[in-house]
């Protein structure tokens, strides 16, 4: 009886020690999370319900509830338009990046001489696509595809779409190459995804008399759906910091503006976050449904 109790106690102590070591290893991250993520996020949320002003020696808070959000959404029509434009652009850009990277990955997955060098080229922009340099290239007009001018595609777009859609379409086409620069990681993820499909399945379906076209749609594509979802999420997250994303600039300028201040800017940031979360959940939902159906 006594020894049983002792053993249990010993086990308990051992467990606690084990857990303690685990938490000890997590400690740096926990401190960092509390200080640089949880606290700022909470504070930002609190700020968004207040009006903040600089005073000598600190801030003065005035609780205003949802007032900031109302002002951002209803009074500042400019911001609302920017958000909607951004959403429109993302809806075009994300499929563009996904299709491009899927296609290139499909080509790069074949065997041919110089494959390694080609892979290196398509990953290259990840290395130097810095905001400033990309902006500079963009203002120089370097991102345009050569055939757009040749075939007068702009005029065709203007003829077939209403003015606003046409404007954002033309805008995206004029930066097409630089947008495609943001597909380096996606290409690698797709290539790695192709490796997960066993070769024997292709052999089996060939013996059964399927054409390559069929085997792509019946085998390759369904197997890649989860990776398409993953890449869509990665693309959305990556585009938060896209240099053409004008939202950050607007938020920053409102931070230091005397008429609006931190609270107002925080409300703007949260509205933006809500939009992004909406986009992410739609993507995840679609992926989930597509994979579950199999």
């Amino acid at each position: 009886m006594n020894s049983e109790k002792g053993r249990r106690k010993g086990l308990f102590v051992f467990r606690m020690q084990e857990y303690g070591v685990g938490y000890l290893f997590m400690l740096p991250w926990m401190i960092g999370f509390a200080a640089f993520v949880a606290f700022p996020v909470g504070w930002s949320l609190y700020n968004s319900f207040n009006t903040l002003y600089f005073r000598a020696g600190g801030f003065s808070y005035t609780w205003v509830g949802l007032e900031n959000y109302k002002r951002v959404w209803f009074e500042n029509s400019n911001y609302r338009i920017e958000l909607i434009t951004l959403l429109q652009e993302l809806v075009i850009i994300i499929p563009l990046i996904l299709i491009f990277s899927f296609f290139v990955a499909l080509l790069l997955n074949q065997r041919f001489p110089g494959r390694g060098a080609m892979r290196a080229i398509f990953f290259l922009p990840v290395i130097f696509a810095t905001g400033q340099v990309v902006m500079e290239l963009f203002t120089q007009g370097a991102g345009e595809l050569p055939f757009i001018e040749q075939y007068n595609i702009e005029a065709i777009i203007h003829k077939n779409f209403d003015e606003r859609t046409a404007a954002s379409l033309v805008g995206i086409l004029s930066q097409a190459v630089i947008i495609l620069w943001y597909s380096g990681v996606q290409i690698l993820i797709f290539i790695a995804g192709f490796q997960t499909i066993p070769k024997t399945i292709y052999e089996a379906i060939r013996v059964d008399g399927a054409s390559p076209w069929e085997s792509f749609w019946k085998i390759t594509f369904p197997a890649m759906v989860p990776f398409i979802g993953l890449n869509a999420v990665y693309t959305i997250v990556d585009l938060f910091t896209f240099p053409f994303n004008s939202i950050l600039g607007i938020i920053t300028s409102n931070m230091f503006s005397p008429t609006t201040g931190y609270g107002y800017a925080s409300a703007m940031a949260w509205l933006y976050f809500a939009l992004v979360l909406l986009l992410l959940s739609v993507t995840l939902g679609l992926t989930y449904r597509a994979t579950k159906g199999r």
Binding site: V37, V104, F112, F123, T130, G131, Q140, I189, F240
Partner: protein, 326 residues
């Protein structure tokens, strides 16, 4: 007669099968057994990729060419990709304008120190997630992914206020301290890389070390961390390049005294705009500042480019190893 006939027939058959076999062989080499392993298919793929790659790299080529053009070359519509003569003055202007040596050393310092700290903190966290047992591990893992999703726009304002209170603004501390606590630039991704790496290691090694009475710290720092050399290198390289290119954070927190290279381009542009702006004819941009600006952009991306050329294998393998793909 009959005999002869049949012999002829047989001969005909034989030559027919022979020739068709040869033609089949040729066909197989050219077209392959599958669609994708014949010579023709390979050639098509290769040409297609070369064309795409050229389009893809076009802005870079244009940047290099512009950076080597003199003002008359820039204005002249006849001069396309290759300048009439190489005009190195742009690079001299850019070098001075960026205060390259000083900014280069600052940026190297920030990037490499920050990356080292990230390797340390992310490997510790990744190890805990992969191997140690404690309640709530899954919650931690979800939280780590969430930190990857929170847009910087949310936290940038409070962080600015915090750093301001602590007097960290315009010092490298704004990079180092978050990196030390696993919240550096894209730290979540690095934690996942380490977790995946440690998960793939055999458990026997740790068990043996534990049997021999090694403490968990000794086990981690003496055995597991050195074992994770490959993962550490991948994390270091990525982190280095991303810190080098760090832009929005740098713009917020490091704007005055301590300016990394990625931010210097702005001030250079402002300086150049101070010169008289000459718009000449069809060339819509300011031809005087364009050359130095492109030279500066090239000078900024050159160091990570060299790192990439040397360590290219690690980068591409690194992504495949993240375990994002399972």
């Amino acid at each position: 007669m009959k005999m002869e006939d049949s012999i002829k027939q047989i001969r005909l058959e034989v030559t027919k099968t022979l020739s068709s076999r040869r033609s089949q062989q040729v066909k197989r080499v050219l077209l392959g057994q599958n669609v994708n392993d014949g010579l023709v298919a390979k050639l098509i793929i290769f040409v297609l990729l070369t064309v795409i790659a050229f389009l893809y790299l076009q802005p870079i080529l244009e940047m290099i060419s512009t950076s080597l053009k003199s003002v008359p070359d820039l204005i002249d519509p006849l001069v396309q990709l290759i300048p009439r003569e190489l005009y190195w003055q742009n690079y001299i202007d850019a070098w001075d304008g960026l205060r390259y040596v000083e900014a280069f050393l600052d940026t190297i310092f920030i990037s490499s120190m920050g990356s080292l700290l990230q390797v340390l903190s992310c490997s510790i966290t990744g190890y805990a997630l992969a191997r140690l047992r404690f309640p709530g591990k899954n919650i931690f893992f979800v939280l780590i992914i969430v930190t990857f999703l929170v847009p910087p726009q949310i936290t940038v304002i409070p962080l600015y206020m915090i750093y301001d209170q602590l007097n960290w603004l315009d010092t490298p501390l704004v990079v180092f301290i978050p990196a030390l606590f696993g919240q550096g630039l894209r730290g979540a991704l690095f934690i996942i890389i380490f977790r995946q790496f440690f998960l793939a290691q055999p458990k026997a090694l740790e068990e043996a070390a534990k049997m021999d009475g090694a403490s968990i710290f000794r086990l981690f720092f003496r055995i597991m961390l050195p074992l994770a050399g490959a993962a550490s290198l991948v994390v270091f390289l990525f982190s280095f390049v991303w810190y080098w290119n760090m832009n929005s954070d740098a713009a917020m927190f490091l704007s005055n005294d301590f300016t990394p290279l990625s931010m210097r381009l702005n001030s250079l542009t402002a300086e150049l705009m101070g010169n008289e702006v000459v718009n000449v004819g069809a060339y819509g941009k300011d031809p005087i500042s364009e050359g130095p600006k492109m030279a500066a952009a090239f000078l900024i991306i050159m160091p990570p480019l060299i790192v990439y050329l040397i360590a290219q294998r690690w980068f591409t393998e690194g992504i495949e190893r993240t375990g994002l793909v399972e």
